[in-house]
């Protein structure tokens, strides 16, 4: 297959309320190639989860896609009827959410949930489905799957449960996985295990992964490219190494500086962290021009007047007027 597997163009997600329409995602464009992991990072309220939800067609009403298009392997999937979208979910797009407990039904065994999902999407016999379920559990690293397949979700530990959720997302070999904060509820040691699992999926099966998280560390470990979101817009998008080591957008730079780092010279107060003053605006009070301009240390007149689009700077692109006349 040539070209991106997932292509999102100028996506706009709105929430009509009686006090006016809130724009939660505003003109987001991104693409993911097969086998690529795209990280989407941002602070709470940046619109990263809603972008994911819009792609899998699970926006909570009254939220709706107001503009833009979403293409999966070249085919538009936004605005599809519910039934059709339901078939695409699971079959072609797998979803992993933050809390493994809410993604699993406590009343059914893990095996029942896996085989049911497999049978719903693939034309196989129940016996073959169970064989596949066992293979999936082994694939995600659950020891002794034969013994574990008939256990209920509560009999698994947190880390193992999240593996089961990953297995569930993989049932129909989807080409795309949307993982929304898959490691946030987990301890660091287990977090590392789930990250390794996602990476292996992308490398070995050519699965495209959209990894939504607030944790830049997880992105650095996992993603190939990263999109940084701020107030519903993509502030910067580019290869992970570039964005982390040479952030172009002042927001990304501030964000990177504000992350405490482990290492030499710990303790004895290594001075202050970089601090972005203020807070992300509420959706009903997004400033005109660049949404970041009131907090930006490098702002100038144009920033408050005109909204910047993504401007290519080397291999990355930043929505910032600093780069209007070339890098």
């Amino acid at each position: 297959m040539s070209g991106p597997l997932l292509e999102v163009k100028d996506l706009r997600v709105e929430f009509p309320t009686r006090r006016g329409t809130l724009v939660a995602v505003d003109g987001a464009s991104l693409a993911i190639a097969p086998g690529e992991i795209l990280g989407v990072v941002g602070e709470s309220g940046a619109g990263k989860s809603l972008t994911g939800m819009a792609i899998i067609g699970l926006l909570e009403p009254p939220g709706r896609i107001a503009a833009g298009e979403i293409r999966l392997a070249g085919e538009r999937i936004d605005g599809l009827p519910y039934e059709q979208m339901r078939r695409i979910r699971g079959r072609r797009i797998g979803a992993i959410f933050q809390d493994p407990l809410t993604s699993l039904n406590p009343l059914f065994t893990v095996g029942e949930q896996l085989t049911e999902t497999i049978l719903a999407h693939l034309e196989v016999t129940p016996a073959a489905a169970r064989t596949r379920a066992l293979a999936l559990l082994a694939e995600v690293g659950i020891p002794a799957p034969q013994a574990r397949i008939d256990h209920y979700p509560h009999q698994f530990s947190g880390g193992m449960r999240q593996r089961v959720v990953v297995a569930l997302a993989l049932c129909a070999e989807p080409r795309l996985i949307i993982a929304d904060e898959p490691t946030t509820a987990l301890d660091v040691s287990i977090q590392a295990q789930i990250i390794a699992l996602l990476r292996r999926l992308a490398r070995e099966h050519g699965t495209a992964v959209m990894l939504i998280t607030h944790d830049m560390g997880v992105i650095a470990e996992t993603a190939d490219r990263v999109a940084v979101m701020y107030a519903g817009r993509i502030a910067e998008i580019g290869p992970v190494r570039e964005v982390i080591h040479a952030p172009r957008h002042p927001y990304t730079a501030g964000l990177m500086g504000s992350i405490p780092k482990v290492g030499r010279g710990a303790g004895k107060k290594r001075g202050r962290l970089v601090q972005i003053e203020g807070a992300m605006p509420r959706l009903n009070a997004i400033p005109p021009g660049c949404a970041f301009n009131p907090r930006c240390p490098q702002r100038f007149a144009r920033c408050a007047a005109e909204r910047p689009e993504l401007i290519a700077v080397g291999t990355t692109a930043a929505a910032c007027w600093l780069y209007a006349d070339g890098p």
Binding site: R18, R19, G278, P281, R282, A285, P294
Partner: protein, 307 residues
């Protein structure tokens, strides 16, 4: 970031007001409730006659039909009863008593239930087990039976001549005591949640006493559902009072509530004087229905805000 002070507060108030404006049924219910309350509270001034003024009663006026039917008099819009009392006026005065008893019983229930629920939830342990078992036992009796029991005990225990003068407090007590369980359970449940929240722990670290924490920290945060239960309970309490009075164990005819009026009028139903019982009945239905509709709306409107 021009967030005006009180932005959220105003929005919250606004939400309630908004949902009120967009519910025509609620508006009608509120108007009816207001009318009933107004008519009841101001009965001594608004009512065309004073049904308790024996001097103004004239047995010759007895059994007058409503004003619009043949033989009706404009003086008595809804007719008169067997003693010549104006039915409209007795309804207004009766509603006054019914409402008073209902509200007082609800207040008593809520006070008892909220205190016990708060203690039960916050202190826990044996006290909790004891209070909740008592609640369980009481729940296995119908509320009306408990009210009958309390009322009966009071009649036996107290001297006969005081019966009429203490009828209202006894009625309030017996209806109130039969309703506390629901408050206690709800408050206990919310208290169990609130007492583990960090603001309660913060108050403990500051060194505040249990009592202060219950009163100042937990109580304000468990009152939302109590308000809803209370509103709906007003309707139930009025009905219970009416039932007791209808059965003859409530208020005496000298202090007639709506229930008493219905009972008294019931005797004349088959002899054709239907208005004596039907109009108090209708008043009861309108009053209870509109209060209940208000309570339902309040529950729905507050619900998403109350987690």
């Amino acid at each position: 970031m021009a967030v005006a002070p009180g932005w959220w507060r105003r929005a919250w108030d606004h939400d309630l007001a908004w949902s009120f404006r967009h519910s025509p049924v609620t508006i009608v219910a509120a108007l009816l409730t207001l009318a009933c309350f107004g008519a009841a509270i101001f009965a001594p001034w608004l009512a065309p006659h004073d049904p308790f003024d024996l001097a103004s009663l004239n047995l010759g006026d007895a059994f007058a039909p409503p004003a619009w039917s043949a033989g009706g008099q404009a003086r008595f819009p809804l007719g008169t009863d067997d003693q010549g009392r104006d039915v409209l006026s007795t309804i207004m005065h009766g509603a006054r008593i019914s409402l008073g008893v209902g509200l007082a019983a609800v207040a008593f229930s809520a006070l008892l239930g909220v205190s016990l629920g708060l203690l039960s939830g916050y202190v826990g342990g044996r006290l909790d087990a004891f209070i909740m078992r008592v609640a369980d036992i009481q729940l296995s009796f119908p509320a009306i039976l408990i009210a009958l029991l309390v009322d009966g005990v009071a009649r036996v225990a107290l001297p006969r001549e005081t019966h009429d003068s203490i009828a209202i407090p006894v009625l309030i007590f017996s209806i109130g005591i039969s309703g506390w369980v629901q408050y206690a359970r709800t408050v206990r449940g919310s208290t169990l949640v609130e007492k583990n929240r960090e603001y309660v722990q913060a108050a403990r670290v500051i060194g505040r006493s249990r009592f202060a924490i219950m009163l100042h920290h937990v109580l304000p945060n468990v009152m939302g559902p109590v308000l809803v239960i209370g509103t709906i309970h007003v309707g139930t309490a009025i009905i219970t009072e009416a039932t007791l009075s209808f059965l003859g164990v409530g208020l005496p005819p000298t202090q007639p509530s709506l229930g008493t009026l219905i009972r008294v009028g019931n005797d004349f139903l088959f002899s054709g004087e239907w208005w004596i019982t039907v109009f108090p009945g209708l008043a009861l239905i309108v009053l209870v229905l509109s209060v209940n509709l208000l309570g339902d709306w309040l529950r729905d409107a507050l619900n998403p805000k109350l987690r």
